[in-house]
C-alpha cells in the first residue's frame, strides 16, 4: 500500500473517528514524521487530511451550519462549541478567541504571513488597555491594603480607582 501523501510504501496506518465516521490514513515513514504522527497528543487526523488543501479553499467550501448541539468546550459568551469550530472553521463571537486559544493557534498554523497582528490598532485602544491594566494593579493593591488593615492607603487607592473608572474622553465622542 502506498502513502497518501507521496508514492513511497506506507508503514504507518491511522484510523480515527471524526463526526461518527471512520477515517483512515496511510503514511510512509518520513511523512509520518513530518506530519507529527509520532506524537499522538499534538496530532489530529482531520488537520492532516485538511492540510493537503489550501486552507482558503477549504474554508470557502465549509458551509457554516453550526448544530447548536455541538459538544466539547463551549464559549462562555455565546455558547459556540469547540466541536463546531473544528467542523466549520468559523467562530461564534469575539470571546471565542479567548475560549479556544489552543485551537486558534492550530488553525492559524501556516494560514497567514504571521501569527501576530502588526496592523491597525483601534483608536483609543492602547489607552483603554493601559487603563485596564492599571486598574487591575490598583485593585490588587487595594485588596492587599485591606488585608493589612492599612486603611489610609486603601482609601487613597479607592479614590485612584474611581478616578480611573471614569470613561476615557476618546470613548465618549459622539
Amino acid at each position: 500500500m502506498k502513502c497518501d501523501f507521496c508514492d513511497q510504501k506506507a508503514t504507518v496506518f491511522l484510523t480515527q473517528l471524526i463526526e461518527g465516521q471512520m477515517k483512515k490514513v496511510c503514511l510512509c515513514e518520513s511523512c509520518a514524521k513530518t506530519k507529527g504522527v509520532t506524537d499522538p497528543t499534538g496530532f489530529s487526523l482531520a488537520d492532516m487530511l485538511l492540510s493537503g488543501m489550501p486552507t482558503s479553499a477549504l474554508v470557502a467550501n465549509a458551509p457554516f451550519v453550526p448544530t447548536r448541539s455541538g459538544g466539547g468546550k463551549k464559549c462562555p459568551n455565546c455558547g459556540f462549541s469547540v466541536d463546531d469550530l473544528n467542523r466549520v472553521r468559523r467562530f461564534g463571537c469575539s470571546e471565542c478567541f479567548q475560549a479556544f486559544r489552543p485551537e486558534v493557534e492550530l488553525i492559524l498554523r501556516g494560514m497567514h504571513q504571521g501569527v501576530t497582528h502588526v496592523g491597525k490598532v483601534p483608536p483609543g485602544f492602547e489607552e483603554i488597555h493601559a487603563r485596564d491594566e492599571k486598574l487591575e494593579e490598583l485593585r490588587q493593591q487595594l485588596e492587599d491594603a485591606i488585608v493589612q488593615e492599612n486603611y489610609e492607603q486603601a482609601a487613597s487607592l479607592r479614590d485612584q480607582i474611581r478616578q480611573l473608572e471614569l470613561p476615557l474622553p476618546t470613548t465618549t465622542l459622539p
Binding site: V59, R90, H117, V118, P122
Partner: protein
Amino acid sequence: MMRFSTLIKHPADWMIGGEVDNAVVLTSRIRLARNVRLLPFPGWATAEQRRMAMQEIFPVIQELRPMKDAFAQPLSGLTSVQKQVLVERHLISREHAARTEGSAAVIERRQSLSIMVNEEDHLRMQSIRPGLNLRVAYDALNELDNEIQSSLTFAYDRKLGYLTTCPTNLGTGLRASAMLHLPGLVLSDKIGQVLNAIGRMGLAVRGLYGEGTESLGNLYQISNQSTLGESETQIIERLERVIAQVAQHETNARLKMLEDDRLTLHDKIGRSYGILQHAWLIDSKEALNHLSLIRLGANMGFFPLEIARLCDNLLMEIQPAHLQLHSGRKLSPEQRDESRGQIIRSHLQNVHTPAMVFSQTKSPPLSDQPLDLDL
C-alpha cells in the same frame, strides 16, 4: 433616502474610469471586515440576535458623514433582481444577497463606498476606485472605519487584531484587490506563466467571470490572501507592486503583438466588431469575450478611447439581472440573449470600423521604464 432607481441609473465613476488610466487595471478595491464586541457573529446568531445587532449598527452607519444621503436598505426590502443587480455591480456580495433576515446594505451615492451589515461579519465595508489606486481606496475606508469606532466597540485582540468569523480574515480584516484586463497576455499565451508567478507570491488570482480558472472577457482579479502578520501598508504596497508589474507585462504584450503580428490583432478586433454589430442573439460568454477585444482595440487606438468607457459600461449592462431590470420583467436565457444583442448593437451602431494602427504610430503611451520581469 435615495431610491434604488436613482442609485443605479448612472454607472459609478470607478466603473468607467473617468479621468483615470484604466487601460489595464480597471478598478482597485479594499474590503475591511469588522465585528462588534460580544455580539454573536451573524452566522451563529439567531434571527432575533441578528435583528438586534442590526438595530445597533444600522443607525450608526447611516449617520456617517459620507453616508448621509446614501442608499440604505434592509435586504428584506429589495427584490431578488434588485439584489442581483447590486451583486453584478460588486456593491454587495453574492453571499450577502442570499441573506435577508436582519441584513442591510448602505451604499454611498457615488457607489465608491458601501457597507454590508450582517454579511459573514457584522460589517463588511468596501471602497472602490478606478485604476490602480489601492492606497487612496484604503485611506477613504480607514477614515470611515475610524468614524464608526467612535460609536461602536469593535472586536479586537492585541495578538490577533480585528476578530472575524472566518480565521482567514483575522488581523487587519483587509482584502485588497484589483481587477485587470489582460487580453495581451492571454493572446500571446503568457498568462499561465504570469498567473503562476502571482500564485507563488502568496497572492490569489482568479477569473472575474466564469468557473474555476476559466476567465471570460480576459478579466482577472488579484488579491492578498494573508491578513495577519503584515500591516495594512505592507499588504497594499506589496500588492500594488505586483499589480504594477503585471500591468507592465500586459502593456508590453500588447505592443509586441502590434509589432510582430499586427494583421492577426487587427483581424481579431475586426471580427469582434463585426459580430457585436450584427449579433441578434448573444450569450454572456460570447459578448464578454468580444467586448474584451473591442476594449483592447480602443485602448490601442483602433477605436476612439471613449469606446473603452462604453465597453466598461456594457460589461455591467449586459449581465442577467441588469437586463431584467431594464426590461422590467423576468427573462428566459433566450430572451436575455436577444436583449443583450439589442443593447450592444444599439451602442455600437455609430462606432466606426477599426482604424489601421501601426506600431510606430499612435499607440498607447509607452513606458520608458526598462522591463523588470522579475515577478
